[in-house]
Symmetry: C2
Subunit: 376 residues, 2 copies
């Protein structure tokens, strides 16, 4: 695996790069659509490849571990083959889902004992077995097992948790190096900076993570309810410390505006359920602001969903038709909105990259942030 | 509009024909996917056009009347434009849905007063306003307003109801001829044979309907719970009476086997929610029998969904993957199964047509009926 930093924007810390994996090249900055349980919800693999066209998607270790379970994934030859997706995949470590989804969980130094949200069965995630699970999934980029602290989080808890995340990282790296990749392609392990919303903790964590010397680094524990300004503040502290020459992944972020602001702070990779989840609720993101397609005002608006026509659905269907589908709870409504939103997110990061390469990212970003901060 | 009868099978009453409408040619026998409320559930219009490729689809008057309502459809320029589908559309008369879906309904000579299943509002369908509604929808083929009797149905009720359906037909034709088409394309009106499962009533109704001299004729009130043999018996009585040179549409039928048997009895057109509804429940139809994809036996079957590869989904995804999607209630599972089933239904009627034209329909049909009568 290789990361080439191509350009840095003169007026911000935005970067354009190229991440080369055994499953293909990822041009950064990039947004990774979330394919939770081996499916980007409501989207065919063909549409993902040909219409949305992301360089990489994300899978969730917690979900895949519970269904279809590891023996099935391994017999299928890994997640790529199971779901028929031959471009790069990143998997999270399961940590975040364990905290947010399991019925009951107990965090100890050893790891996290939790109850499945599917059938109530008891399971244990440790830094070691999470490395094994991600080897079995076969993601190109694996994430270290961490604790994602909630917001707000008191200082003492945040500090203690951060140190445990660091100790878990050492165990992850140790075990990751011991066990081989299973499917013939290289896998990289990204450690995760924690430290809640405390600048001193974030700085200490970033130093610890930078020292681990991993191929790429991630920022976790943000986008959990804190104000955007606080998120940007933390990103700024962390990207100032993380090595320049390695890719940086901000986990779980965010709105189109959040993404542009964090690109300006030196982040290269993003993932978020927002474009897909909000799509299923009838919310569309566009270059001129967001649309709640269920609003009465669209009832007789027979204009295309989005005149920009980034993906084919934008001009194939009208706003009135899409609104009708949502009012009738038709599956097709969710399908259309999902393709639209993911297409828009991909367009946004690709445009950002173009402007970074052209040297005018910051002025473009300011214009876009203003433009997108609208409800249509 | 024009119907050309091309061939009749030497060993059965199966026919191959060609129905020419202002929105294109329909090669019969044909299956019409059901697009209830301006959407074939779970299928993009692009997939419908390019992958499933039916010559005609069906819309439901009752559903469209309630949502998006007639003023929206009319301002959109009719259903074709509203949903962006430029091939032929057939609409039912709303009668069947009024009986099966509305909370409360009262049938009188005037028409049917019913309560919307959406918001409880009260409405009246009459032979006259159902003609107006279908003019506003703009379907290429409109259906007469009828009463669809339940199964079983006592003889006196069936007889009385049949006569009312005949009187309603006269009112439909009268009103249909008075009001113009709205969107510049021709619309045909098909009357419907009723008479429950009584041969004498079916014969009388078929004679009445034949005498109406419509462009095409339909058989209603079947596929409502009666045994298949009883259905075939009724179809046989009716097709012996309906004019040879006009298309015949058997409403709401059915399984792949039902369709082949009724083609053998001289039916040209079919519609049914079975391929789409069963798909959403994980049931797949194939040339070698049906599959309940949720069964444990498919858990580690990494072979393609259907080796025949009629539509691209059949070879894009494995049985194990599709099963996993259904076990996780993922939207994509329903989407894949729907494309598969509709693709299979289209393949089946197209193959039937080829064999009718080749003169070996009956032997092919016997083989297929045996083959498809399996659970895989």
């Amino acid at each position: 695996m290789q990361f080439d930093l191509l350009t840095t924007d003169p007026a911000s810390k935005a970067r354009a790069g190229k991440l080369t994996t055994d499953h293909g090249v990822i041009e950064t900055p990039i947004f990774m659509p979330v394919g939770t349980v081996a499916s980007v919800k409501g989207v065919h693999q063909r549409e993902l490849r040909e219409d949305i066209n992301p360089d990489i998607i994300l899978g969730n270790t917690y979900h895949l571990y519970l269904r279809p379970k590891m023996d099935i994934l391994q017999r299928a030859g890994g997640l790529h083959k199971f779901m028929n997706w031959d471009r790069p995949i990143l998997t999270d470590s399961g940590g975040y889902q364990v905290y947010s989804l399991s019925n009951r969980r107990k965090i100890k130094e050893e790891g996290v004992r939790f109850k499945s949200h599917v059938d109530g069965s008891m399971h244990l995630f440790t830094p070691e077995n999470v490395m094994e699970i991600q080897r079995q999934i076969g993601a190109d980029i694996m994430m270290a097992f961490d604790e994602c602290t909630p917001y707000p989080c008191d200082y003492r808890y945040a500090k203690r948790s951060m140190h445990m995340t660091h100790r878990w990282l050492d165990r992850c790296i140790n075990h990751f190096n011991k066990i081989p990749a299973l499917y013939g392609h290289e896998q990289a392990l990204f450690p995760i900076v924690q430290g809640s919303t405390y600048k001193d903790l974030r700085a200490r964590s970033a130093e610890y993570i930078a020292n681990a010397g991993a191929f790429g680094n991630a920022i976790g524990g943000l986008s959990v309810g804190e104000p955007a300004e606080e998120m940007y503040g933390m990103t700024e502290v962390v990207t100032a410390i993380l090595p320049e020459e390695k890719p940086r992944y901000l986990m779980g972020v965010g709105t189109p505006i959040n993404i542009l602001e964090n690109i300006a702070l030196g982040v290269d990779m993003f993932d978020c359920v927002m474009p897909t989840r909000n799509a299923r609720n009838g919310m569309l993101f566009t270059a001129h602001g967001s649309i709640n397609i269920k609003n009465l005002k669209w009832e007789d608006d027979f204009s295309p969903i989005d005149e920009m026509g980034i993906t084919w659905v934008d001009t194939e269907y009208s706003k009135a038709y899409l609104r009708h589908l949502f009012k009738c709870h038709e599956l097709l409504g969710m399908q259309i909105a999902t393709i639209h939103n993911l297409g828009f997110y991909m367009w946004l990061v690709r445009e950002a990259r173009k402007h970074i390469l052209a040297g005018d990212f910051s002025t473009w970003k300011e214009k876009m942030v203003k433009q997108m901060d609208n409800r249509l």
